[in-house]
Amino acid sequence: MAVKVETVGLNAWYGRRQALYDISLGIEEGSVTAIIGPSGCGKSTFLRCLNRLHEETPGSRVDGTIRLDGEDLGKKDVVSVRFRVGMVFQRPSPFPNMSVFENVAAGLRLLGVRRRHELDQGVVEALELAGLWDEVKDTLDAPGTSLSGGQQQRLCIARALAVRPEVLLMDEPCSALDPIATNKIEALIHHLKTRYTVVIVTHNLAQAVRVADTTAFFYLGKLVEMGPTDQIFHAPREKLTENYVTGRFG
């Protein structure tokens, strides 16, 4: 498979504190890649570099190269980068002032879609893709925040998918959800990888095993090891990885 996202010598800082050291890796198109590692290892920072959200944090800095389909993201307009690389966060974050429909339509409107039937079509497609349509089709005008936690997270996924990104970043998308909602999101991730490249940060090692084709292990801001999920969990090359996946630290 072709490499969709590639980082070369990626370093990131928050003020003077360096959070990522020289990360070079490639993420394959149409795959699910899990980023694992203990708290503070830089996995979320790495994810936030991929859609250039890291640079929105005051005092932050990035150097190195991130390529999407071979194009240097650092040289592109940041808004166009974010249309191509969508993101879902740890806590469900529907826009509180918008209805279910408007939450999903927000990105489409940004893209310049104005015609009602195009908006309707885009919203329905995104909600169907996120597996939420049947649950909300009668309450599209209700506030997005009135849904349950799991539904809100799928609403956020639908919102991100509506603008048809090429890559979907998920930052611990299930950590605030109960097991049933988590199952639904994981099933959704399986379904999504046929159309999108998914990068997911997770604290839950079992989840990485369940959903990811490839897993990258970060420790103290460095990439320790990356490979097929099966290999990382059953035959890691690095002692550090083995200690982490067997629960000896973390």
Partner: protein
């Protein structure tokens, strides 16, 4: 200890209760007449045997108060909200902290000083309108700006970072995040802030005495002297004419009722906000 605190509660509430009861006792006879809200103030008069004084009303005062408050809000709401956006979204630096401090100081400045400032300003730039609805509106606007600014800043800061980041990640340009998502999410808290500022401005007397002038007639233009409730109370509550004293107390009661109404609406807006946040 409980008895002491309860006693202090009674002491704290006593003035408010007394004010309301006094206003009802002395002004209650005026406010029950529908014409009180529409008529012009009467000529001063003391009742004599066989002759009841005309009660008149405070129609021009109510109208003038709302006109000047509206004008003040027109000035203060956009400036205050945009300043609040700056402080909340971009103001985490020395300039931002300085503006916050300045707004706090301005909130505490006695309004008579703000009134003098606006009056003198008009003497220099628009002499003919130094005592006018325009001047009064500007004075109320100056009173409201820092309140709206700080209220907006607090309202916007209460919108979670995750919502801002979600909007950025979706592709919203930074300025549209503030306008489309953050302001929208803080809507009810913003409405509350504006209403409380309006209520504060409406109850102000000193600045209006110096800027609105006075009139016994309905509003005629923005550049002529205009009636308002609080100056009316100030001028008439110590009048030697009984009907004017009654009207002043009636006006007090009306003012209290309007401010109570504004506070209730503000509370309802907060409740709406809390419901939305609670469901999140």
């Amino acid at each position: 200890m409980v008895a002491l605190t309860a006693f202090c509660v009674v002491l704290a509430l006593a003035p408010l209760t007394s004010i309301v009861l006094t206003a009802v006792r002395l002004g209650g006879t005026a406010v029950v007449h529908p014409s009180f809200y529409t008529s012009l103030p009467p000529l001063g008069c003391n009742p004599s045997p066989g002759y009841a004084c005309p009660l008149g009303g405070i129609g021009p005062e109510i109208q003038g108060t709302f006109i000047m408050m509206g004008l003040g809000a027109l000035i203060a709401v956009p400036i205050g909200i945009l300043a609040g956006v700056y402080l909340a979204e971009y103001g985490r630096n020395r300039l931002g902290r300085a503006i916050s401090f300045f707004a706090d100081v301005m909130t505490g400045i006695p309004t008579i000083i703000l009134g003098v400032f606006v009056f003198v300003l008009f003497i220099y730039i628009y002499h003919d309108a130094a005592l006018s609805a325009l001047s009064g509106g500007v004075a109320l606007g100056v009173i409201m700006i820092p309140i709206v600014t700080r209220a907006s800043e607090e309202a916007l800061r209460s919108v979670p970072t995750s919502v801002r980041e979600a909007a950025l990640a979706l592709g919203f340009p930074r300025h549209r995040v503030s306008v489309r998502v953050v302001l929208g999410s803080a809507r009810s808290a913003l409405i509350t802030g504006v209403l409380l500022a309006a209520s504060r401005a409406m109850g102000d007397t000193a600045a209006l005495l110096l800027t609105a002038g006075g009139s016994s007639f309905y509003f005629s233009s923005f550049t002529t002297q205009t009636a308002a409730i609080t100056p009316f109370i100030f001028v008439n509550f110590g009048s030697s004419y009984q009907n004017l004293r009654t009207d002043a107390w009636g006006a007090s009661l009306v003012l209290l009722a309007i401010m109570l109404g504004i506070s209730l609406v503000a509370r309802l807006a907060v409740r709406g906000h809390a419901d939305a946040a609670g469901a999140a």
